[in-house]
């Protein structure tokens, strides 16, 4: 069962603007019966470039129908310049959000709008972004389209690439390629996210000693406590609490909450701290 918002349910059960506009000024069509969803968008545009009416016909699931209806509601009364700026995220926002797996329904709306505007200008309507190399052959999605989706939507996982573009949702053969593209886009933009190389034992020991001496001990000393590094066994840091800490009832909290957290943040995330017995 999908967790649809009330707005999605409302626009699915009682869709606004369903139907055709005879002699429409612009028609945009994306998807097909074979693909599993399709949207045909009709616009009536005034001479000064204002969208006077918008209607849709959709084959697809509840959120595809609701997304289409939402798009037509958003378009009515807008100038073409304003309409051009509508993205799939605006459609999803109008609906109060869509389940992640259904984001491609809003993408279909954006694509139909693009096709419509191209049609109005009398330009050849490309079925989708055809520049670049086709990565997902099942859905005909190019690397350019995938890169754009990653950048525009802040995507950080291959799963989300599929949710937004359908790429990888067919046979799955291109998933490795999607990973490469994702890594490539993220690698240049969010370098912090890349995994650091694992430390050697000596590096880890030096770093642990440094953080204990420079960060942890000064802080504990403020409360009259102290700490001593006893041993290091792989990722296990064995310490002994001294001074006020030795008899403090919340010493366990100090170990897990402060000492371990600090070491995990500043040395390595996998570190475990325990007290020498």
């Amino acid at each position: 069962m999908w967790e649809y918002t009330d707005k999605v349910r409302e626009l699915f059960l009682n869709p606004k603007n369903a139907g055709e506009i005879p002699n429409a000024d612009a028609v945009g069509e994306v998807g097909s019966l074979a693909c599993g969803d399709a949207l045909k968008l009709f616009l009536k545009i005034s001479e000064d470039g204002v969208i006077e009416d918008a209607k849709f016909q959709t084959f697809g699931c509840a959120s595809a129908i609701a997304s289409s209806s939402a798009l037509t509601e958003m378009l009515k009364g807008k100038t073409l310049e304003q309409a051009e700026k509508i993205t799939n995220k605006d459609i999803a926002a109008y609906l109060g959000g869509l389940p992640k797996e259904k984001m491609h329904c809003s993408v279909m709306g954006q694509e139909a709008l693009e096709a419509c505007l191209l049609d109005y200008r009398g330009e050849e309507a490309p079925e989708k972004i055809t520049e670049g190399e086709v990565v997902c052959h099942c859905f005909g999605v190019t690397d350019v389209a995938i890169r754009r989706a990653i950048e525009e939507n802040g995507i950080t996982s291959v799963e989300d690439i599929t949710n937004f573009t359908k790429a990888g949702g067919g046979c799955g053969e291109c998933v490795g390629k999607l990973e490469e593209i994702l890594f490539d886009v993220l690698g240049t933009k969010r370098e912090v996210k890349t995994e650091p190389k694992p430390m050697t034992n000596i590096q880890r020991m030096q770093k642990v000693m440094q953080v204990i001496d420079e960060v942890i001990r000064p802080s504990l000393k403020q409360d009259g406590g102290d700490i001593q590094l006893v041993d290091l066994d792989g990722m296990d840091v064995i310490v002994s609490l001294r001074g006020a800490c030795g008899s403090c009832p919340s010493a366990k909290l100090t170990l897990n909450g402060f000492v371990q957290k600090t070491l995990r943040e500043q040395v390595e995330p996998g570190i475990r701290v325990r007290e020498a017995s």
């Binding site: 999908w2 699915f12 059960l13 869709p15 369903a18 069509e29 998807g31 097909s32 019966l33 074979a34 693909c35 599993g36 969803d37 399709a38 949207l39 045909k40 016909q57 959709t58 084959f59 697809g60 699931c61 509840a62 595809a64 129908i65 797996e101 259904k102 984001m103 491609h104 079925e127 052959h137 099942c138 859905f139 005909g140 799963e159 599929t162 949710n163 937004f164 573009t165 359908k166 790429a167 990888g168 949702g169 067919g170």
Partner: protein, 395 residues
């Protein structure tokens, strides 16, 4: 609003008689059957009775029944036992239309170096037994063929399959989760080695299943721990669930005639009614070699999830073989294996009945379905008279 439940292949209502028998095991009979004291020990007698009832229903011996937590666990156990007991045999035969409880286990074995032969089906969902015969090898560890398909209800000829497979001395497993209580069979006359069943598909609660393991079939324990189930499935028994399963199998055996007459007639009334009232509708699966309770229909030009949500507004519960998720608009693997055209596959709805359905309920569904389909077809850009218009998918 009254719930019109037509999704019995997904799960079933717990039968009142079953509920009544299981309830004491949550209250005054909460003892552990492994305990030394009488309070716990007395529960053991009820497990013995449940085991006898299941064995009687299936036509096997009580000690050939292992209680598990679900059909999936039973399937996993059969594969584990067959592969671990025959480490030199690295070939598996199964079908394209199995439940994920089998398909995903097979995929993992494949990643671990097993050779897998996956048998296809014809357009009505039937297997080619010659293909099965040709697929068997010296190193085949297990053949796994479901007894009846959960989506289409197509029933596979297990007696013939068993004859072919056992003639080669190869182990045979069947996922009979959908078949028990609907397809009459006796394991005493059906020489397969493993059979999986699930409680909640036959009016017992969720969380209990069973695996039949024929005496003499090599076995390795999947779940290790205590000595329960003679050391073949560790873990404190789900006493209430097992008692319920015993009663449910007993009832299923008593009602199997009813399933194949009255329930079948209800299913046919629904199916014929929908096919007659709604144009561009087709039946998926063989019309006769099929479970008496299942009808899988495709409505052209509309999408399954949208149909289901509209039906939900009328309290009608059913399922769809269309999975509009994750951008993957792939219709069900079962319909694809049968070569159901994409134009139909996306609009498939599975109705699955039980002995609790009534003719009034069927007629209520017949009353609203034509409007629902007509409404969605009105929204759809595809119409019968523009058949040639939709562009092909780049798939």
């Amino acid at each position: 609003m009254k719930t019109l439940y037509f999704d019995n292949n997904a799960t079933t209502m717990v039968a009142p008689e079953v509920l009544e028998e299981m309830l004491p095991f949550f209250s005054e009979m909460y003892g552990n059957p492994s305990s030394m004291h009488l309070f716990g020990g007395q529960v053991g007698k009820h497990l013995t009775l449940a085991r006898q009832r299941v064995a009687q229903g299936l036509g096997c011996e009580p000690d050939e029944i292992i209680f598990t937590a679900c059909g999936t666990e039973s399937d996993n156990t059969a594969f584990y036992a067959a592969t671990m007991a025959q480490p030199m045999s690295k070939h598996i035969v199964t079908t394209k239309v199995e439940h994920p409880a089998v398909l995903n286990v097979v995929q993992r074995l494949e990643r671990h170096g097993y050779d897998v032969t996956t048998l296809g089906t014809d357009s009505q969902g039937r297997l080619d037994l010659d293909e099965l015969r040709d697929s068997l090898r010296e190193d085949t560890a297990l053949v796994s063929v479901m007894y009846a398909n959960n989506e289409t209800g197509v029933v596979y000829p297990l007696p013939e399959i068993a004859e072919i497979v056992k003639a080669r001395g190869i182990l045979l497993h069947t996922d009979a989760v959908q078949a028990v209580g609907k397809v009459p069979f006796r394991l005493s006359e059906l020489p397969l080695d493993f059979l999986a069943l699930s409680g909640h598909k036959l009016h017992a609660p969720k969380g209990v299943g069973a695996l039949f393991v024929r005496r003499g079939t090599p076995f390795r324990t999947f779940m290790l721990g205590g000595h329960q189930e003679h050391g073949r499935r560790a873990g404190t028994e789900n006493t209430a669930g097992i008692v319920a399963l015993g009663k449910a199998v007993e009832l299923a055996t008593a009602h199997i005639e009813d399933e194949n007459t009255r329930v079948r007639a209800l299913r046919d009334r629904l199916e014929q009614g929908l096919l007659a009232a709604i144009p561009d509708t087709r039946l998926n699966g063989h019309p006769d070699e099929r479970l008496p309770n299942t009808s899988n229909l495709s409505f052209k030009y509309v999408e399954g999830e949208a149909i289901l949500l509209m039906m939900d507004q009328h309290g009608i519960c059913a399922s769809s073989g269309s999975a509009c998720t994750s951008g993957s608009l792939e219709p069900s693997h079962v319909l694809r294996a049968m070569g159901v055209p994409f134009t139909f596959a996306h609009g498939s709805i599975r109705f699955s009945l039980s002995r609790y359905n009534t003719v009034e309920e069927v007629d209520m569904v017949l009353d609203v379905m034509p409007q629902i389909i007509a409404r969605l077809r009105e929204l759809s850009p595809f119409k019968k008279d523009q058949e040639n218009v939709p562009p092909a998918c780049t798939c």
